[in-house]
Amino acid sequence: MNNIHSFTKVILSAIGIFFAIRIISQMLMPLGLARMNPSLESVAIAIAATLFFGLCLAVICYAFVYKREQLAKRIIGTNELPEADSQILWLPAAFRLICVTAGLYCLYAVLWNVVYNLMQYFSFKPDAAQSGYKVMYTPKILNIEQILSWLIMLAIGIYLVCGAPHFVRWQVRKTLKQCKAFEKIRQ
């Protein structure tokens, strides 16, 4: 176990706790929205959304807090690395960590947007007397731009959570190139 592993473990725990807090704070929101218009559909969606949030919470706590050592090993590689005196060693690890964090944030944003919009749609589902709501909320749900942006965000989120290998390689290469350029100038 070296410094990079310890640092990665701490960061992973922090990421897990951060997202757990965010999910817990918004877990009961669907139920609150369902209370505004307690139809069968809205209650069913609210319960499903709350259960889904709970499942996400469990997965995040399991992966980022309980199994953080294994995750750190997967991100850094072997734990028999030499101490990180060389500046190059920590760079891919740092980029991979920020990619995983940003990926989780992306997935969280997609989840939040989808659940929020669906809940709004079903909570304000129009009846004969409330046709105005249909006009107000339908375009937001069926907007092709919004659905497209959710899909792109979902794809980016999954790619980033997987460690974004191409992006990390590209960033490391560019960073080292920039540093070499500085060194050349200074010599």
Partner: protein, 199 residues
């Protein structure tokens, strides 16, 4: 500079950028209850005052954060000038890419809308030429235009930061090393050469 000072500098830069984005997001003029009744002069004064406060924050957290970071990090073993530049470049890049990636989810709808605009340009120009009236897509109040501009600039900033913000990092290194040279009284000619990165 020490390693911790460089780390603190990166944290200040990231927090400064995040503060600017968040402050303009909650700018009171964006969400006025009765927007049509606010005089334009009052709006301009409010925007100028707000921008001055944001500018102050940017100056001390992003542009000139060496003193703050050295106070925060405290003393430690000093790095050589070349090592310092390398550490600064790497840590700033990691920090800036991070903040860029965090800004991306909220900017995605704007990026998609901007891409969609390319398909709408022809129709919009046709509408203007044929009917000689402003198309509906351009009929917005100045408050809505402010929101559009904010979202667009935020998306641009996110993309620039994800690309690693090379110009900003170059400028920041030149600025920091220049400040140190002034402090110690040793003029380093290589700092001027950092203005343009060689191929």
């Amino acid at each position: 500079m020490t390693k911790m000072q460089i780390f603190a500098k990166t944290v200040f830069t990231v927090l400064g950028i995040y503060a600017v984005v968040t402050l303009y997001r909650f700018y009171p003029g964006r969400y006025a209850y009765r927007p049509d009744e606010t005089p334009i002069f009052q709006e301009l004064v409010l925007l100028s005052a707000f921008t001055a406060v944001v500018g102050f924050i940017v100056y001390f957290t992003v542009l000139n954060n060496t003193r703050l970071s050295s106070k925060l990090a405290g003393p430690g073993p000093l790095l050589e000038s070349a090592t310092q530049a390398a550490w600064l470049a790497k840590s700033l890049r990691v920090g800036l890419v991070f903040i860029g990636l965090m800004l991306l989810p909220n900017s995605m709808p704007v990026i998609v809308k901007t891409l969609k605009l390319f398909f709408l340009i022809r129709t919009t120009v046709n509408d203007i030429v044929i009917s000689k009236s402003i198309p509906r897509i351009l009929e917005r109040s100045y408050r809505e235009w402010f929101n559009v501009l904010y979202d667009f600039l935020k998306a641009l900033l996110a993309l620039y930061l994800i690309c690693g913000a090379p110009h900003f990092i170059r400028w920041q290194i030149r600025h920091t090393l220049g400040q140190q040279a002034n402090k110690t009284g040793i003029q380093n000619p290589s700092i001027k050469k950092l203005k343009k990165e060689p191929k």
